[in-house]
């Protein structure tokens, strides 16, 4: 665990000195707060939580894919990852270290979303749990993209459309039954269903997200072994 801890500390220091990365964790809750205060609270037809759940789902389902892929692609591009592999860092240690900090930051930001929103106690717990689970899935997916990309530009070119597909799949699903069936296997759809309707099946949503995470983890381990030394 000392190796994962070393990478976690490195990631924390690195992120606070990287304004491009830092802004991703500030902009979404800031927009949710402004829109809730300016629009939702003054309009009785709009739920107080509308912008919180919308921005929260975009943050957990889309933004974190871009953040994580950028972190890993940077390590691949400058050959730091190769040195870590040579120093004996294992795939799970690297993911725990680099992804662990992004996950922690993601959970803190989810907490901020929770504070902005108008949730009951049980709703808040469900919201935080599903946000944490979706954040985990996005982090692993971002890590895979970062690992397979040659550099940050390539990572961004892959991550952006993929994040948009995952992010907009729930919207398409709400208009088309076939799309809804297909999207029900995606963690972003389950995130969207749950944050918009807390009476939906929590265990089913979490199970689907859990399977997504396991599949993505298997792909990550494969990618790390294949690309870790080539980077």
């Amino acid at each position: 665990m000392s190796r994962a801890r070393a990478i976690f500390i490195k990631q924390a220091k690195d992120m606070f000195r990287n304004p491009m990365m830092l802004i991703q964790f500030i902009i979404y809750p800031a927009v949710a707060f402004i829109m809730t205060e300016l629009i939702a609270k003054s309009n009785p037809d709009i739920s107080n939580n509308m912008f919180v759940t919308m921005m929260g789902a975009i943050f957990a389902g889309m933004a974190l894919i871009l953040s994580m892929s950028s972190v890993i692609a940077e390590d691949v591009e400058r050959k730091s990852l190769r040195l870590l592999v040579m120093a004996g860092v294992k795939p799970h240690e690297y993911l725990l270290g680099a992804g662990g900090f992004i996950l922690l930051a993601g959970i803190i930001v989810s907490g901020v979303f929770g504070l902005i929103g108008d949730f009951t106690g049980a709703e808040l717990i469900k919201f935080l749990a599903v946000m944490a689970a979706a954040t985990s899935a996005s982090i692993v997916l971002g890590a895979i993209i970062g690992m397979l990309a040659k550099n940050r530009q390539t990572a961004s070119a892959i991550a952006t459309p993929l994040a948009m597909i995952l992010g907009f799949a729930p919207m398409v699903a709400s208009f088309n039954e076939t799309a809804e069936k297909a999207a029900s296997f995606l963690y972003t759809q389950q995130l969207n269903v749950l944050v918009n309707d807390f009476s939906a099946s929590f265990s089913k949503a979490m199970a689907v997200i859990g399977v997504n995470i396991l599949v993505l983890l298997a792909v990550f381990v494969f990618a790390y072994r294949k690309k870790g030394l080539k980077g």
């Binding site: 000392s2 190796r3 801890r5 070393a6 990478i7 500390i9 490195k10 220091k13 690195d14 000195r17 990287n18 400058r78 050959k79 730091s80 190769r82 040195l83 870590l84 040579m86 120093a87 004996g88 860092v89 030394l229």
Partner: protein, 232 residues
């Protein structure tokens, strides 16, 4: 000890290493010389298990954790300071963080310990990469073009450090395309051309062997005699 015996490596259909054989003794500075594209980095990658050979055998008498590696690209975290960069690896190797400061001192970067890497000159970055490679006191050190792009004064500093490392018990395996550097630094060298070792031994012995073809030849002219091409 480091050894390669009949190693062959192909990328797609192209053979980049053919029947590469050499042996490096403990506490020796061994230089692999050749122009760009000769296969020097491929040999380091095979010895450090970053690449698999397609034929032959190879081995080093040290565990992976007992080797130090300086790549052709430094791999430093540019937003972190010098000491923070080394602390990441000190924590990974589970050695005390005070070793980071000692390593910085040994490469003459103690005064720049808190300076961010993106504010360092190229020479300072090279020295920091070397400090990271020696941080855990490795038995075997692989250095890929350690003085590439450095000014003569900075290169001399690296040479001195490599000699000190050898004197403290390390075996040093380096690649270079600089013949003067090889003569000054190495106990033994191998001349590599198009993936084949065309000559090996102590620099003085190699020059002596080819003295019949040219009066007082240096390594550069021996390389030209053997391959018909210039190194630099």
């Amino acid at each position: 000890m480091i050894r390669m015996n009949g190693v062959v490596k192909r990328f797609s259909q192209q053979t980049v290493l053919s029947d590469v054989t050499f042996c490096v003794q403990k506490q020796e500075i061994f230089g692999l010389l050749g122009p760009s594209g000769a296969g020097k980095t491929t040999i380091i990658n095979i010895l450090t298990n970053q690449l698999q050979a397609d034929g032959g055998s190879h081995g080093i008498d040290a565990a992976a954790s007992e080797t130090g590696l300086m790549l052709d690209e430094d791999g430093l975290y540019t937003r972190l300071s010098c000491v923070e960069n080394l602390n990441v690896f000190a924590d990974i190797y589970a050695i005390p963080r005070k070793k980071s400061l000692e390593a910085l001192e040994s490469v003459g970067l103690a005064d720049a310990a808190k300076k961010p890497v993106n504010k360092l000159s190229r020479g300072m970055r090279q020295r920091l990469a070397l400090a990271r490679a020696i941080l855990h006191s490795p038995k075997i050190l692989f250095l890929d073009e350690p003085t590439s792009g450095l000014d003569p004064a900075a290169a001399r500093g690296i040479h001195k450090l490599i000699h000190n490392l050898r004197d403290s018990g390390a075996t040093v395996f380096l690649t270079t395309h600089n013949m003067d550097e090889a003569v000054k630094l190495c106990d033994n060298v191998a001349l590599l051309h198009k993936g084949r070792i065309v000559e090996h031994g102590a620099p003085a012995e190699i020059c002596e062997r080819h003295s019949a073809m040219k009066t007082s030849p240096d390594l550069e002219s021996v390389f030209i005699i053997l391959t018909g091409v210039e190194l630099e």
